[in-house]
Symmetry: C2
Subunit: 409 residues, 2 copies
């Protein structure tokens, strides 16, 4: 008898009809001879409504109470899902995050799971229940309600799967799995049957937002394999798992596009110790996320540092930097550009295959697409291109690695 954790997001439980669909699928899984834990999110729209209510009573709602408020969203879904399962003749019991034994630190609205005591979940499973657990939430050791922040329900599912030693963890969403590229941009993109945690992480941080990085990191850390599937059909999804030997035979697993990027270049920065730190600590203090960083030093003892960030952060970053570089050197200049995008090719196979960068750059060059910046990791090559070329760029790279036809396992 296998133990399966299934997670359904806000769209999959968005109304009573869809909750019934989830109940049906869950019962089928149980009746096929499995022990089933279901992790659910708030019904889509509910969280936004609660946030709107909070804003009406307070301009800056207390984070501790925000968690008490938002936790009602998933609590509503667990009750309705358990009712729906019972109405179909099943046996179900709901658990809030706290009841499921999910203990977190006290950082409200973005708490981290510190431990899980799944005694109640195990007891209910042993008693033949489908256990319906509220995603996204936990309690502190002092019993205060917390929420886990973005992607929190995925994290609940993966962490619970680890705690109860589940055989399978299925993350149901509104897409069939992870693709070699976004199918809206690359029509011949293919679903990837198996992908390693590392590749999934690089894909996630390069714009393929099927899941938040933290859930994948958690799964990697605890060795929890999970499958991303579509809640609206029965298609097999993408299995995300530890790297295996034969995965290296595929050079590139997928390509991703991150739109709406911008670049800041600090030119003629005197190349003295501490200057780069001064720049990036100013950016850090302003809570701005930056991505690729490139530095060159010329013969004149002046550095040129460029980095990319989301275009929405460009104005603030520029202000912060102008303040930070004041007095550093008289020729220092800050140049800001938006209208760029990042194209990444990801694959653990590139570790053992040479010539990957050459293939990618040649494909872009042949298509007349100029490369503005380059950044590489062990399993990723990313380039910055003009946003006018972004869709063409991802298509030619997808084509160059033959992702439309290559065998993918």
């Amino acid at each position: 008898m296998a133990t399966i954790v299934q997670k359904y997001g806000g769209t999959s439980v968005g109304n009573p009809e869809r909750i019934k669909n989830v109940a049906r699928r869950v019962l089928e899984t149980q009746r096929a001879g499995n022990r089933v834990v279901v992790v659910v999110s708030a019904m889509s729209g509910v969280t936004d409504n609660l946030i709107r209510l909070a804003r009406e009573v307070s301009e800056e709602p207390l984070e501790r109470e925000m968690d008490v408020l938002l936790a009602t969203g998933e609590q509503t879904t667990i009750a309705l899902t358990a009712m729906a399962i019972e109405a179909m003749g099943g046996k179900a019991a709901s658990c809030t995050g706290g009841q499921a034994g999910i203990v977190t630190d006290g950082v409200h609205t973005k708490a981290r799971i510190s431990s899980i005591s799944p005694d109640e979940v195990n007891r209910l499973l042993d008693d033949g229940h489908v256990v319906v657990v509220a995603g996204f939430q936990g309690v502190t050791s002092g019993g205060r309600i917390t929420t886990l922040g973005r992607g929190g329900s995925d994290l609940t599912a993966i962490a619970l799967a680890a705690a109860i030693k589940a055989d399978v963890c299925q993350i149901y969403t509104d897409v069939d799995g992870v693709y070699t590229a976004d199918p809206r941009l690359v029509p011949d993109a293919r679903k990837i049957p198996v992908i390693s945690y590392e590749e999934m992480l690089e894909m996630a941080s390069s714009g393929s937002k099927v899941m938040q990085s933290r859930s994948v990191e958690f799964a990697n850390k605890y060795g929890v394999p999970f499958e991303v599937r579509n809640s609206m059909n029965q298609n097999p999804g993408t299995l995300v798992t530890r790297e295996t030997m034969n995965m290296e035979s595929v050079v590139i697993r997928g390509v991703s596009l991150e739109k709406d990027q911008a670049k800041i270049t600090i030119a003629a920065l005197p190349d003295r110790p501490g200057n780069a730190a001064r720049v990036f600590s100013a950016i850090g203090s302003a809570h701005l996320n930056i991505d690729m960083i490139v530095q060159n030093t010329g013969r004149d003892g002046e550095a040129r540092i460029s980095f990319t960030l989301h275009k929405n952060d460009l104005k603030k970053a520029r202000e912060v930097l102008e303040e930070a570089v004041r007095g550093i050197g008289e020729r220092v200049e800050i140049l800001a550009t938006d209208g760029i995008a990042k194209v990444s090719a990801v694959g653990i196979g590139m570790r053992s295959h040479s010539g990957v960068a050459a293939t990618m750059f040649k494909a872009l060059g042949d298509a007349g697409i100029n490369i503005d910046m380059i950044s590489t990791s062990e399993i990723k090559i990313a380039v910055i291109v003009d946003e006018k070329s972004q869709e063409n760029a991802i298509r030619v790279v997808h084509q160059a690695f033959r992702l439309h036809e290559a065998p993918l396992v």
Copy 2:
């Protein structure tokens, strides 16, 4: 420094603006030098919406999960109220029923409080917080969420007041207090400044539905005085407390009207042991509430039993009785009438004053109102009249006891 428990019902917290009003009032109370616990209900309409959702996933929603679902209503209000208090510069913390230490039995949707461990509430009070507690809910000793049923939030407030030894418990509602009669029917009705638990109970069970009887009974049992007040103004309300010596100087505290009553008479019932029991156990098994019961036995050895009930239960009661009396006696007849109402006069003073019944009957007689049935308790006289006379009846009784002018303390 006094400790005050304030309870606000669903209308008083019905929207963000009203929640802010509650926050303002609570802060005033705290700033006047008090420790304040606030018990809140779900925002009006929220509970009905949740019930509607439940019905959409299940024809007969599981009661255990219904409690998980409904408890989100008050949880939403506590978070918003705490936020509103903080936004006004106060210090507040919310507690669900479970966090406030309210432990109940496991009878879902109508649980009874079995114990309260107010450690967390006391700790938060000591720390200078306004403590905002979710009414209507608790947890079982096994940690399952329960709700207390109708009037549950009043019960939470009174029980918490007892547990933390509060000096004052204020029940805020949408009326100024308890009146000598319903002011919509008797324009010169007056607010009652002080009333005993017993009188309040008799008034409640006679149609003055300011509060559910169970909360008053609980307050009586644990000796918790409480005040019924209007959340929309600063008027003093009605203090409900233990009987005191001088209360007896007022013969009648108030009169109440219960509309939409019906009567069933079982005529020619052979007066043998067990026949009455047979009748009333049939009614009891059908979960029908009956009120006044009158029995007379004639010289012919046949009894005539009449009782009253709500007119909505009349049809079902008749069916049940026709089944129950089958074979008891051939002349047995069941007569059902609706279109009647109950007028009650309540006052602990009637124990020591004779002639109260006479005054009431004479007033009704002088007004040409026929009395159909009479029932008395130690502190109440109730009569059944035709519903056409009901409003006139309550006015003339109110007048007869000079409730429009009598000193009321």
